[in-house]
């Protein structure tokens, strides 16, 4: 009976839609990967029960229905409607300034003294600023030597910031040694651009 098929299809679609809405006008969770501002690759892996979804495209999303999860593509409008308040409460991103040092010392280069001044302008933009001073070295010398030198440089900058009125409780100094060079080099290479301290304002 070929003529009854369209009718049955309509009924089936209606029943499906009704069930989907009864169960599904409510869904218990949503995950959306947002586009990166600088465009580099990112991903979130979502495990729901036995299923795993990898969200690795802008607006790739999953939502959790009572019967299981579903992958789909969200958009800026849905994200704003569902997460507008959460996103509006996002703190300002950390901003980083880099200061350079004379070889083997904890004293700034001349250019870096000027950059140091701009940090204070940035601090005034944050409602409750806290600062991290991160010391780095080049790859000349051992790890323990460079860890100490990096921390000494960071401490010197911390002291300078405190002298200019930043509350000590709001500044942490850390040393990264030679682990995180700005310019990758072989071990033992003297590289002025790696002898630096970052001031992170956040």
């Amino acid at each position: 009976m070929t003529t009854s098929w369209p009718l049955r299809a309509v009924v089936a679609a209606a029943v499906f839609a009704l069930t989907a809405c009864l169960g599904g006008c409510y869904h218990s969770g949503l995950v959306v990967l947002l586009p990166e501002k600088d465009g580099h690759a990112t991903a979130v892996e979502v495990k729901q029960g036995e299923q795993t979804y990898v969200l690795d495209k802008p607006y790739a999303a999953t939502r959790q229905w009572p019967m299981g999860a579903q992958a789909y593509t969200s958009d800026a409008k849905e994200v704003e409607a569902r997460f507008g308040a959460a996103m509006a409460a996002q703190p300002m991103r950390a901003k980083s300034f880099t200061l350079y040092f004379l070889e083997g010392q904890d004293e700034f280069t001349v250019e870096s003294k000027e950059i140091f001044e701009t940090v204070f302008v940035e601090i005034s933009r944050y409602p409750v600023p806290d600062l991290v001073v991160v010391g780095h070295t080049d790859k000349v010398g051992s790890d323990p030597f460079n860890d100490q030198l990096a921390l000494r440089r960071a401490e010197a900058v911390r002291t300078a910031l405190i002298a200019r009125g930043v509350a000590p409780v709001n500044i942490v100094a850390v040393g990264r040694g030679k682990r995180d060079p700005l310019v990758p080099t072989a071990d033992g290479v003297a590289e002025p651009r790696n002898r630096r301290v970052e001031i992170v304002v956040r």
């Binding site: 949503l30 997460f83 409460a89 996002q90 991290v132 409780v169 990264r176 956040r202």
Partner: protein, 151 residues
């Protein structure tokens, strides 16, 4: 001229202040940078107001009211912000600033959350997890939103 009494009081005060600063400092994992409406920090059975500038500890639970939202900056530079009617637990947070190694586990029990991951997730992609009652999110980076048990 200072009486010995006043001087010993001052010494004690300075000692107390540095002890408090040290204690606060040692356990700090992040800070409340934005707080709107009703927001509380549940810590060790107590409910504290989550004011802007409040320091966070591992194990803290943040709760927002129907008019509330809150924004946190963690010590690894990750940013977490929750919308109204949310419950967010900072279950576990370890971060070594020298090596960048760490572990960050948070749970969104209900509500909405926006995240920009930081140095912990960047150093090792398996080291940051966000859970909801129905899902586990492994964070390779960087920016995403998640909701749970919406009202």
């Amino acid at each position: 001229m200072q009486t010995p009494n006043r001087r010993s009081f001052r010494v004690a005060l300075v000692a107390l202040c540095s002890a408090l600063a040290l204690a606060a400092h040692a356990a700090d994992i992040g800070q409340v940078k934005v707080a709107k409406g009703t927001v509380t920090i549940e810590r060790g059975g107590q409910s504290l107001p989550a004011i802007t500038g409040a320091r966070l500890q591992s194990g803290d639970v943040l709760k927002t009211g129907a008019d509330g939202s809150v924004g946190l900056t963690m010590s690894d530079n990750s940013l977490l912000s929750a919308g109204p009617n949310s419950v967010l637990s900072l279950d576990r947070y370890d971060f070594d600033a020298t090596t960048s190694q760490g572990q960050f586990d948070a749970t969104l029990q209900k509500g909405s959350l926006a995240v920009i991951s930081g140095r912990i997730a960047k150093q090792s992609p398996d080291s940051m997890k966000v859970r909801t009652p129905s899902s586990i999110l492994g964070i390779r980076g960087t920016e995403f939103v998640v909701s749970a048990n919406d009202d």
